[in-house]
C-alpha cells in the first residue's frame, strides 16, 4: 500500500510550468523518520524541494508539522513547497479549513484560501534598501555586469530575502530581463551569489516581471520564487502606486504570483496543479501511513 506521494507544480495552472515540489504526507506517524531517510527520499525525488507533513500534536498552535528537503539538505523556509503542501491537503486529502497553519523551522507559516481559487502565503514585507543604507550592501558594477551580461538601469537596491545583502537589479524593460544569460560561475562569486532581476511587464495584465538567479545557493535559476516577492512587491507597490500587484517570474518554466501589500506583510498568492498522484513503497524502511481520505 505504501506512503502517498504527490508532485505539484506551484504558482501555475499549467502542468510543467511553475516550480515543482514533491509532497509526502506522513500524517499519522507519531514521530519523524530518521533525517537521513527523509534526505534519501528527497534525493530520489530529485525535485528542488520535497515537503514532509505530519499532523501537529493537539496542543500545537499549528495544524501540521512541515519540513522541506532539497536533494542535498534540509532548508529553513520554502514558499513554493508550502503552497504545494496546502494544495495537496485541500485537493487530495479532504482538508477544508480556510487557513492551514504549519509549524516549521521558521515558525508558523500558513496557507489560506485566496481569491478565485488561489492559495495565499503570508510573508513579511521587506522593502528594499538603497545602496549606502547598510555598509555591506555593495556590488562592484563591473563584476555584476560581467556576470549578468547587462547593467541595470536603476540604482541597485538591496534586500535580505534569500540571503543577506541580495542585490535587486531593476531594468527598463521585460525584454532586458528576458535576455539575461548570466555567467553563473562568475555570479556565484558576487556577494552570496544570488541576484534578483526585475522590470516592468510588457503584458498589460501584469505589473512586473522578475528572474531569480542563485548559483551561490546551488540553483542557477529558480523557476518561481515566493520569498523574493517580499522585497519586489513593496518596491513595485511604491513605484506604481498600487497595493495589489500581479507578478510573473519569467524563467523558462514561468510562474504567476498575485501580491497584496497589507501593512508590514505581503500576501503572495498563486495556483497549483498536481502532475502526479501515487505512492512509494519502501517496505520496512518507512512505516505505512494510512491511505489518504477519499476525495
Amino acid at each position: 500500500m505504501g506512503t502517498p506521494l504527490y508532485r505539484i507544480d506551484a504558482f501555475t495552472q499549467k502542468p510543467f510550468a511553475g516550480n515543482p515540489a514533491a509532497v509526502v504526507p506522513l500524517l499519522d506517524l507519531d514521530a519523524w523518520p530518521a533525517d537521513d531517510l527523509l534526505q534519501a527520499i528527497a534525493q530520489e525525488n530529485n525535485l528542488s524541494e520535497t515537503a514532509y507533513l505530519r499532523t501537529a500534536p493537539a496542543d500545537s498552535a499549528a495544524d501540521y508539522l512541515l519540513r522541506w528537503f532539497t536533494p542535498a539538505i534540509e532548508v529553513n523556509l520554502c514558499g513554493h513547497a508550502t503552497l504545494a503542501s496546502g494544495h495537496t491537503l485541500r485537493t487530495h486529502l479532504g482538508v477544508t479549513k480556510e487557513r492551514i497553519a504549519f509549524d516549521t523551522r521558521s515558525g508558523i507559516v500558513s496557507v489560506e484560501q485566496g481569491e478565485e481559487g488561489r492559495l495565499t502565503l503570508d510573508f513579511p514585507s521587506t522593502p528594499p534598501r538603497a545602496e549606502g543604507q547598510d555598509a555591506e550592501d555593495h556590488v562592484d558594477p563591473a563584476a555584476l555586469c560581467a556576470s549578468l551580461g547587462d547593467l541595470p538601469t536603476e540604482p541597485i537596491a538591496f534586500s535580505d530575502v534569500a540571503r543577506e545583502h541580495t542585490p535587486i537589479c531593476v531594468f527598463d524593460s521585460e525584454a532586458d530581463v528576458r535576455a539575461l544569460r548570466p555567467n553563473f560561475g562568475a555570479l556565484a562569486t558576487i556577494g552570496h551569489g544570488v541576484v534578483i532581476a526585475t522590470a516592468p511587464s510588457d503584458d498589460p495584465d501584469i505589473d512586473f516581471v522578475s528572474r531569480f538567479f542563485a548559483p551561490g545557493a546551488g540553483i542557477d535559476e529558480d523557476p518561481v520564487t515566493g520569498s523574493t516577492h517580499c522585497a519586489l512587491a513593496p518596491y513595485w507597490a511604491d513605484r506604481l502606486g498600487k497595493t495589489s500587484l500581479r507578478a510573473r517570474q519569467i524563467s523558462e518554466r514561468t510562474g504567476d504570483l498575485w501580491c497584496e501589500l497589507a501593512g508590514d506583510r505581503v500576501r503572495i498568492s498563486g495556483y497549483c496543479v498536481s502532475t502526479f498522484e501515487g505512492s512509494m513503497d519502501l517496505g520496512s524502511l518507512l512505516p505505512d501511513a494510512p491511505a489518504p481520505a477519499a476525495r
Binding site: G2, L5, R7, P15, F16, P20, A40, I41, Q43, E44, N46, L47, S274, T275, F276, E277, G278, S279, M280, D281, L282, G283, L285
Partner: protein
C-alpha cells in the same frame, strides 16, 4: 491525459540505491515533444516510454532525459523489464524491447533478480592526454568505445578516491570516463565508477552500458566468462553480475526496486 508511471531503482544494492529511472506506460502514442517535456518534469537520469505490445509480444521502448532522446540506456531498459515482469506480473519470464539500439531482452534470473542482455561494446586502445589532468592520476591502460573512455587503474582504492577535475573532464570528447580496477575483496571481481563529462560533475549511479563495455575486458583478464561480480562505487551504489556471452553479447543481472507508482497527469 493520465499516464501510468513507475519509478524504479535499477541495479540497486538496496531500495533508494542503484540508478533511478521513470517508466511510463501511456495508453496512446505520445509525440516526441510530449515525451521530452515529461522527462524534463520528472528530472530523473532517464525516463523510459513503453508502448503496448507488438504482434510478437515485444514492446517499443524509447528513452528520454533532460537533454533529449537517448541512443541507448541500460538501466532504464532494466527498469522497464522490472515493471512488466515483476510489477505488472505478466509477460511470462522475459520481455523483448524494440529500441533504436536494437532488440534488448530482460528476463527473470531467479531469486527476484532480472537480467538484461545487450550487445557488448567493443573497445580500442586509445590515448587521451587530458585524462591525467581529469583524474589526477595516470591510468595503466586506456580504451575507447563508441561513446565512452575506459581508464584502468591499479586498485579499487584508486577508483574509490578519484576526485575528478570536472573542468578538464568536460573538455574530453566522450559521454563519460569509466574508471575501473580489480576488486579488493573476495566478494567482487571488479569495481568501477562512471564520471560523466556533461553536465559538469555528473557521476552516474549504475551504468549498464559501462558494464557492457567492461565485461569482455574483465572476462579476458580474469579468465572468467560468467558470473563476474561488479560494484559501481557511486554514492547510491550499483551491483551487477556480468556474463560474457557468445555472439558478442553481455548479460547483466541485478536487482530492481519499485520506488513509487502512480498516475502522471499532463
Amino acid at each position: 491525459m493520465r499516464i501510468e508511471l513507475y519509478q524504479v531503482d535499477a541495479f540497486a544494492p538496496d531500495p533508494l540505491g542503484g540508478n533511478p529511472a521513470c517508466v511510463a506506460l501511456p495508453d496512446s502514442t505520445l509525440d516526441d515533444s510530449a515525451m521530452l517535456a515529461i522527462a524534463r518534469e520528472l528530472n530523473q537520469p532517464m525516463t523510459a516510454f513503453v508502448s503496448a505490445p507488438n504482434g510478437d509480444g515485444s514492446r517499443r521502448l524509447r528513452w528520454f532525459h533532460e537533454g533529449g532522446e537517448s541512443a541507448f540506456c541500460g538501466h532504464a531498459t532494466f527498469a522497464s523489464g522490472h515493471v512488466l515482469l515483476n510489477v505488472l506480473d505478466g509477460a511470462g519470464d522475459a520481455v523483448e524491447f524494440d529500441t533504436i539500439a536494437g532488440r534488448l531482452r530482460v528476463e527473470r534470473a531467479g531469486e527476484g533478480l532480472l537480467s538484461l542482455t545487450v550487445p557488448a561494446l567493443p573497445l580500442e586502445p586509445h590515448t587521451e592526454p587530458r585524462l591525467v589532468g581529469a583524474l589526477g592520476r595516470e591510468p595503466l591502460e586506456v580504451y575507447r568505445s563508441e561513446h565512452d573512455l575506459l581508464a584502468v587503474l591499479e586498485t579499487a582504492h584508486d577508483v574509490a578516491t578519484i576526485h575528478a577535475n570536472t573542468k578538464v573532464l568536460r573538455s574530453i570528447e566522450a559521454r563519460g570516463v569509466v574508471v575501473t580496477a580489480p576488486a579488493d575483496n573476495e566478494h567482487l571481481d571488479f569495481v568501477s565508477r562512471f564520471l560523466g563529462t556533461l553536465p559538469e560533475g555528473y557521476e552516474d549511479a549504475a551504468t549498464g552500458s559501462a558494464h557492457a563495455m567492461m565485461t569482455p575486458y574483465w572476462s579476458k583478464r580474469l579468465g572468467i566468462t560468467e558470473g563476474l561480480r561488479a560494484a559501481q562505487l557511486s554514492p547510491r551504489g550499483g551491483e551487477f553480475v556480468c556474463d560474457a556471452l557468445e555472439d558478442n553479447k553481455v548479460r547483466l543481472t541485478g536487482q530492481a526496486f519499485t520506488y513509487a507508482k502512480g498516475t502522471l497527469t499532463v
